[in-house]
């Protein structure tokens, strides 16, 4: 597909919501950058680029997938932090470390596209997270506790708090 503004191939596919309706734009890198710097007055160009990357990846996934399948992937929710893949696509930021596992099939093409690799070969922390399950559980429990407090379900919140403390204490390192 050609860029809408010149003859170069379009590599960025941007969906804008105009009056609630999605409008698609297909641009080459140069025009995408120009478009993005024009349309967003925010200084956070890094995050808008991240959102574009996420969009770009979604486009790649679309190959061989039906709209329903795509919508299904979009609506998948991380049980730990509660964000949907759509939330990530629109904001360009993940919600918690567990998203990398839970959205792994969707993230892999994006990561490959950005880095050209999918495997870390650098530094490894001395106590690498073999306790990651407990850590993930803590994120989930803290969220549930806050929700319980918001619902004024203090009994449940108290139980959750005790469980959080129990895990925290069994983990000497936070």
């Amino acid at each position: 597909m050609k860029c809408q503004k010149c003859d170069k191939p379009s590599t960025f596919h941007i969906t804008e919501l105009t009056d609630g309706k999605p409008v698609e734009l297909h641009l080459c890198e140069e025009h995408a950058r120009e478009y993005l710097t024009q349309s967003s007055q925010e200084p956070t160009t890094a995050s808008s680029m991240a959102a574009v990357l996420a969009q770009q990846m979604a486009q790649q996934m679309a190959v061989g997938q039906t709209a329903e399948e795509l919508a299904e992937l979009d609506q998948q929710i991380c049980p730990c932090c509660g964000i949907s893949f759509y939330d990530f696509r629109s904001q360009g930021r993940l919600g918690c470390p567990h998203d990398y596992s839970c959205f792994a099939p969707q993230l892999e093409p994006l990561i490959l596209n950005v880095h050209g690799e999918t495997k870390h070969v650098g530094k490894i922390p001395r106590h690498a997270a073999d306790r990651s399950e407990a850590q993930t559980r803590l994120i989930q429990l803290r969220r549930q506790m806050e929700e319980s407090v918001a619902d004024e379900n203090y009994e449940r919140a108290g139980q959750l708090r005790d469980e959080i403390r129990r895990i925290e204490q069994s983990e000497e390192i936070q």
Partner: protein
């Protein structure tokens, strides 16, 4: 340590010493880290953020003597002070402008700054004057090890250090050098250099302001890829390209010096004249003229003025610095008057062979 203690000095990154300091201003490495037991910052509740801040603060205070550490609660900081830290490259603009529990820890020499609850829970940044990426890597690596002793980072066997944005995943490392490239700008070759850098996955951006004509002709070159290469390889990738760019800049300076000596000398001298005698001057104009004078000094066209003095002026004439040095908040118009006065006095008292009294 207090924030105001920092204002008088130029900070590590503009100290103006170290290898190749006439062109390479500073070397910087940052690592992005997150605590495994908390959601990333954008998804964290206020109590999560407060807890992350507390855990990291406790650890930082364990590893660094409090008399040599400035720990700043960014959330409660006045606007001008936040801007001041941004101008010194100790915090990012995003960190200054966001909301909720967040902080920065800075050592006495301003060689490191630890941003807490920026885009990631922790951003460890080390800055060294001149070209010293190996020294910066050694220091940042050691800090990372120390912090990690008592905390568990979010780490994945395959993907490495996990970050809020997948563009930083893996090493979480950004290696950058800040370069002063006035001759490449003047000879209109800078775009060409950028294009070739982009081809090898290096990013270039202006140090102050956005766009290709960076204010003061300062540019930052950094790696874009963070996954699939070791930290040493990423350092090497940036370190290898720097001598090439230094060489281009020197060639461009030689060319200007040889081929249009009179024009160059005239231009540089006029810029120096304006800095010494203007009665009102904007930050942007100051940067432009300082950049030209800086090159003039390096080429021997201006005598009696040292590079560290100019480096200090680059930072002192920024809006928040100026207000802190003068001791009151000023509107833009008044700042332009004060800036001109400051430049005049500073240049008078810091030039050799000038009979004016020193204060």
């Amino acid at each position: 340590m207090e924030l105001n203690d920092l204002a008088r000095g130029p900070g590590e990154w503009l100290r103006g010493s170290g290898p190749e300091a006439d062109i390479v201003i500073s070397s910087r490495i940052r690592l992005a880290r997150n605590l495994a037991a908390f959601p990333f910052v954008s998804r964290a509740s206020e109590s999560d953020r407060a807890r992350v801040e507390e855990l990291l603060r406790t650890r930082v205070l364990q590893i660094q003597d409090a008399s040599q550490l400035l720990y700043v609660d960014v959330e409660r900081l006045a606007g001008v002070d936040r801007q001041f830290l941004v101008e010194r490259h100790l915090i990012s603009r995003e960190h200054a402008e966001s909301h909720g529990s967040r902080a920065v820890a800075i050592d006495g020499h301003e060689t490191f700054s630890l941003m807490i609850n920026e885009e990631d829970h922790l951003r460890i940044q080390v800055m060294h004057s001149g070209l010293d990426l190996d020294g910066a890597w050694e220091q940042v690596n050691r800090l990372d090890d120390l912090i990690e002793e008592k905390l568990t980072y979010a780490f994945h066997d395959e993907l490495g250090y996990l970050t809020a944005c997948p563009t930083n995943v893996g090493t979480g490392m950004r290696v950058s050098v800040m370069l002063h490239l006035p001759a490449l700008v003047l000879t209109r070759q800078i775009e060409k250099v950028f294009r070739s850098l982009q081809k090898i996955s290096l990013a270039v951006r202006g140090l102050f302001g956005e766009g290709s004509q960076a204010m003061g002709d300062f540019y930052q070159i950094s790696n874009q890829i963070t996954l699939g290469q070791s930290e040493q390889e990423l350092v090497k990738q940036v370190a290898d390209i720097v001598p090439v760019i230094i060489d281009y800049e020197r060639q461009a300076r030689d060319f200007l010096f040889r081929e249009s000596h009179q024009n160059l000398n005239d231009r540089v001298s006029r810029d120096y004249g304006i800095l010494r005698s203007a009665k009102k001057i904007s930050s942007e104009e100051t940067m432009r003229r300082l950049s030209s004078v800086r090159m003039g000094v390096n080429l021997g066209l201006i005598e009696g003025l040292d590079i560290p003095v100019l480096n200090e002026l680059f930072i002192h004439t920024q809006p928040a610095h100026l207000q802190k040095l003068i001791g009151s908040e000023l509107e833009s118009e008044d700042r332009n008057v004060e800036r001109a006065l400051y430049l005049q006095r500073y240049l008078q008292s810091h030039t050799r062979g000038d009979e004016s009294e020193r204060n």
